[in-house]
């Protein structure tokens, strides 16, 4: 089938920052994103797990965003402004999509 080049951006960010990040993504012209739950992990700040937690602090979420290659830089800059001082990971990879008109 006909596929189109795109970029797959995956951002793992602290849960209390989720809304700030998605708001800025929308401002940066991102047409869609998907938020997926994260259960636990480990990093420089140690191990953590959502098990039994009530507070949003000490949890992360993953945000997946498929965009046209030409918009990548714009997105990364916007995201970085929010992320800079926070824990989190930004991963970019190449991908192909169906229905390119959606991105």
């Amino acid at each position: 089938m006909q596929t189109h080049q795109a970029k797959r951006v995956e951002i793992i960010i602290e849960a209390p920052m989720e809304r700030r990040l998605t708001d800025i993504l929308e401002v940066a012209g991102v047409r869609g994103y998907t938020v997926t739950p994260v259960h636990g992990g480990s990093g420089r700040s140690g191990r953590w797990s959502r098990e039994g937690q009530v507070s949003a602090a000490g949890g992360m979420v993953a945000i997946l965003c498929i965009i046209r290659p030409e918009r990548l830089d714009h997105l990364l800059e916007a995201a970085f402004a929010v992320l800079e001082r926070h824990m989190g990971v930004v991963v970019v990879s190449d991908c192909e999509v169906l229905r390119a008109e959606r991105f």
Binding site: M17, S45, W48, E51, G52, Q53, S55, R85, H86
Partner: protein, 332 residues
């Protein structure tokens, strides 16, 4: 003293405290016992709704007095000022970096609603009643401490350590803090209780009263698990001075709470709750706010102190102590 020892002994052997101990022990032994996140949140929503509702109903039974206003104002003042005390203590006792000290200070100005719930339920068991509006005081004390913490951090950041510690404090953050879920639910349920009164309570007591204490046990089991896991993962972070702070601070704060409660003329039960609010440290709302506003502060420090040290201290020793003190000092 005897009264305190007896009380502490019986408290220690209550299902509530033992459940916490079970969770703590299980986590420290690295058992895979765990409570699903959704279940923990469900229990927390239940407790907030129930305690808020009960408070509201209690107010209808006794009328809304001038005292309510006085108590709320006292609570707000405590929440604003206790972080200064915590900050001073930390700077004297420990070598915690300024930004971490500010974040910790914010936690101790705010409150822990489970500690409040545990104290209320111990009061009820002992036949001591408290002013229903203390729930509103609890809600009022959640947020102001954050203000002081951010001010402390901003002040610290102008010092030597450069960018680290810059404070994010915009209108959006303040909306988030004031409208955070636990404040809204606690106050909302309080008003529902206020509006529907005894009759409303009669309709829902099969849910809000009958299973209350048992749910509290399971919730404390979960808190024990979370606290134990936190302590295990933060080995090395909590040195002796910090541990000492985690015990000293609630004691000092409870004295402030005592003073405030006596000044307003609360009932002995009300004084206990005021002491508990002052002495307890937040572990839900303030941590989340700190992650946004002070991302450089290390969450492992403030969470372990608040949940792993001060919470169990209050649960096991603090509450009986505050009850003993208030029983002696407050007018029957």
């Amino acid at each position: 003293m005897d009264g305190f020892l007896a009380l502490a002994g019986s408290n220690l052997l209550s299902p509530v405290v033992l459940s916490f101990a079970l969770g703590l022990g299980a986590a420290l032994l690295r058992s895979d016992l765990s409570v699903p996140e959704a279940m923990a949140k469900a229990m927390s929503l239940y407790l907030l709704f129930a305690i808020g509702f009960k408070g509201g109903v209690a107010v209808t039974a006794h009328g809304v007095e001038l005292q309510l206003l006085q108590a709320v104002i006292a609570g707000i003042m405590l929440s604003l000022l206790l972080p200064l005390l915590a900050w001073a203590l930390l700077r004297v006792m420990s070598r915690l970096p300024a930004v971490d000290a500010a974040a910790v200070a914010g936690h101790y100005g705010s409150i822990s609603i489970v500690t409040f719930v545990a104290a209320s339920s111990l009061l009820t068991a002992r036949g001591m009643s408290a002013e229903g509006f203390m729930v509103a005081v609890a809600a009022a004390m959640e947020a102001p401490a954050i203000l002081t913490a951010l001010w402390l951090a901003a002040r610290g950041a102008r010092g030597a350590r450069g960018a680290r510690g810059t404070v994010r404090s915009d209108a959006r953050l303040w909306r988030e803090i004031m409208l955070n879920g636990s404040i809204v639910l606690l106050l909302g349920a309080f008003f529902i209780g206020l509006i529907t009164g005894e009759q409303g309570m009669a309709e829902v007591e099969g849910f809000l009263l009958v299973p209350f204490k048992g749910v509290l046990c399971l919730f404390l089991l979960d808190m024990g698990l979370v606290a134990g896991r936190g302590l295990r993962n933060s080995r090395g972070l909590l040195n002796l001075p910090l541990l000492a702070f985690g015990v000293l601070m609630p004691l000092l704060a409870s004295v402030c709470g005592l003073a405030a409660g006596l000044l307003i003329g609360l009932s002995p039960g009300g004084v206990v709750l005021m002491m508990v609010l002052a002495a307890s440290a937040s572990y839900i709302a303030v941590p989340a706010a700190m992650r946004v506003a002070l991302p450089e502060a290390n969450p492992a420090i403030y969470l372990s102190l608040s949940l792993g040290v001060t919470f169990p201290f209050n649960l096991v020793l603090g509450i009986p102590l505050y009850i003993a003190a208030a029983s002696r000092l407050a007018a029957g």
